[in-house]
């Protein structure tokens, strides 16, 4: 039985932290921000991993494996594309 209040407190605090942190992100980086939060959100893969490795249930294996595929694709793809984007942002070279 999950500890409800604990979870709610964590959610509330993380929500506020998210607000404060994201508010500061320059509009310049909104696209990479969305790509990286996408990759981080795919942390749902941990739930899928436990499910797919779960005992003997056929259902858990099938659904868990598909879920791992989807989440892993987001993790890998999200990090690669964020990296590509961030590499492109350069300052202008000093006075010509």
């Amino acid at each position: 039985m999950p500890d409800i209040t604990n979870s709610l407190f964590v959610f509330m605090l993380a929500g506020f932290i998210g607000f404060e942190v994201i508010r500061r992100v320059s509009p310049l980086l909104h696209t990479p921000l969305m790509s990286i939060t996408n990759a981080l959100d795919a942390i749902a893969v941990v739930g899928a991993i436990v499910l797919a490795g779960h005992g003997h249930s056929q259902l858990a294996h099938i659904l868990g494996t598909i879920a791992i595929v989807a989440a892993t694709a987001n993790i890998v793809g999200g990090f690669i594309i964020t990296d590509r984007m961030l590499k492109m942002f350069k300052l202008s070279r000093t006075q010509k």
Binding site: M1, P2, I4, S7, A14, I17, G18, F19, V21, I22, R23, S26, P27, L28, L29, H30, T31, P32, L33, M34, S35, I36, L40, D41, A42, I43, A44, V45, V46, G47, A48, I49, V50, L51, A52, G53, H54, S57, L59, A60, L63, G64, T65, I66, V69, A70, T72, A73, N74, I75, I81, R84, M85, L86, M88, F89, K90, L91, S92, K96
Partner: protein, 464 residues
């Protein structure tokens, strides 16, 4: 076993901290790559910790999933920068799919293992409903952005009624399930109905509204992951989901403000209902047009030029030609900057990424407020593929559907030049009075071709 669990929890704790730092460092381009690195380390720690989980009896399926996911993920990471909006929508769909499937499995396993507590059932319903509607909604958005589906908004009578009705029915079913989780015959419906809702939700949405919609779907995806965290009692998931949820939420607020839409409008996904304005066809209005040679002459004689890019630049793939023009003009001593409207393009920050890809230094990319204080001192405002975000009717004409929307005040510049294919109205179907101003020069043609011509004229030795 207890020790094992402690190790996992500590790894999760470190991963959570790294995720927060990762987003913290995303605040500026100088630290953003460090942020990415922190995120990657956090992810590796979290996945590594999970593999130690004592409940895992077989690694076969996990390995298959990880390998297949990587095979699919690599090409998704390598798409062209112009395709980033649809890629992002697709990845929201993937994230939602993962969450929905895990939630579904958890429900049926929970039933077999002797029922689910009410709170768990409640958040599980939230997880599955949000996940399902985000899944189809994001697929629809991706389809519209990829132009597999028609981009024009499709509206019909009673649309909002149907949509809200579907949502209400799924919430009622969810409540029934919470009251008695063993009503398993209801469970498929809280997947199926939100799946349909996701489709209907995106049908009335047009391309210009995509930045808001993508942000909103981002938020839904995050919230569904947080709900999954509640079900699994995983603080790591709750934190990551809350971060993603608030990120999407903030972005959708910024986007809706930039389009002057109310917030309830955003929450219910009821956008794209701008009725095509009845433009008086009888009015004879004259426009002044210019050739590439004339445009080049004006640009070369200017001290300060502000370029306003829009989705049309992305469609024409003109960003590299634009950068060449930027280079030539800068070499001639002209001060060139770019004014970026928050909703320019098809997702938040879309134009910045395209211009950065074309090697335009990011300190030349100005946000709307900064740009607007520059326009009165600007000699030439050059608009490439943007329309509604420059429409002065938003400031002056109360009857205009976009009245009140913050715009780039290009009309304050001494001369305005607009590269456009023809005189057709913008996406929202609204006539732009800017085009009929005396100071406005229309440059008719394809953005890429026309900018190319200007570059040729500029570097063709028409020396001053």
């Amino acid at each position: 076993m207890a020790l094992n669990n402690t190790v996992i929890q500590i790894l999760y704790l470190v991963a959570s901290a790294l995720f927060i730092l990762s987003l913290r460092w995303m605040s500026s381009p100088a630290t953003a790559r460090r942020g990415l690195f922190a995120g990657e380390i956090g992810m590796v720690l979290a996945i590594g910790g999970t593999l130690l989980h004592s409940g895992i009896l077989t690694y076969r399926w996990i390995a298959i999933g990880l390998v297949l996911g990587t095979i699919i993920g690599v090409p998704l990471g390598k798409v062209a920068m112009t395709a980033v909006p649809q890629r992002t929508a697709l990845s929201h769909a993937f994230g939602a799919l993962c969450v929905t499937l895990v939630g579904t499995a958890h429900y049926y396993l929970g039933l077999q293992e002797g029922g689910l507590p009410k709170f768990t059932m409640g958040v599980l319903c939230a997880e599955v409903i949000l996940g399902s509607l985000t899944f189809t909604g994001s697929l629809m958005a991706a389809g519209k952005l990829q132009e597999v589906l028609p981009q024009r908004p499709i509206t019909y009578k009673g649309q909002n009624f149907v949509n809200l009705g579907l949502l209400a029915v799924s919430i009622i079913l969810a409540v029934l399930l919470v009251i008695d989780p063993s009503r398993s015959h209801l469970f498929p419906f809280i997947i199926g109905i939100p799946l349909a809702f996701g489709i209907f939700m995106i049908i009335p949405i047009g391309g210009a509204d995509m930045p808001t919609v993508i942000s909103l779907l981002n938020s839904y995806a995050g919230l569904s992951a947080a709900a999954m965290g509640f079900v699994l009692d995983s603080k790591l998931l709750i934190i990551a989901g809350a971060l993603d949820g608030s990120s999407g939420f903030i972005l959708s607020v910024i986007m809706s403000k930039a389009m002057n839409r109310s917030f309830t409008n955003v929450l219910f996904g009821a956008f794209g209902q701008v009725a095509p304005a009845a433009t008086g066809k009888g009015e004879e209005k004259t426009v002044r047009s210019a050739t590439a040679e004339e445009a080049a002459g004006i640009l070369a004689a200017a001290n300060k030029v502000v370029i306003v890019p829009g989705y049309g630049m992305a469609v024409a793939q003109a960003q590299h030609k634009v950068r060449e023009m930027y280079d030539v003009l800068t070499k001639k001593g002209v001060d060139v900057t770019f004014a970026i409207h928050p909703v320019a393009g098809r997702m938040p920050g879309h134009m910045n990424v395209l211009l950065a890809e074309a090697d335009v230094p990011y300190d030349k990319l100005k946000e709307m407020d900064d740009a607007n204080s520059d326009f009165p001192q600007t000699d030439v405002a050059l608009i490439i593929g943007a329309n509604d975000v420059t429409n002065p009717a938003a400031r002056t004409d109360q009857s205009s559907p976009i009245y009140g929307m913050p715009i780039l005040d290009v009309d304050k510049a001494r001369t305005v030049m607009v590269i456009k294919r023809g005189m057709s109205p913008g996406f929202a179907g609204i006539d732009n009075p800017l085009y009929y101003f005396d100071k406005t020069l229309m440059l008719f043609g394809d953005a890429k071709g026309f900018v190319g011509d200007i570059v040729r004229e500029l570097s063709g030795g028409h020396g001053h």
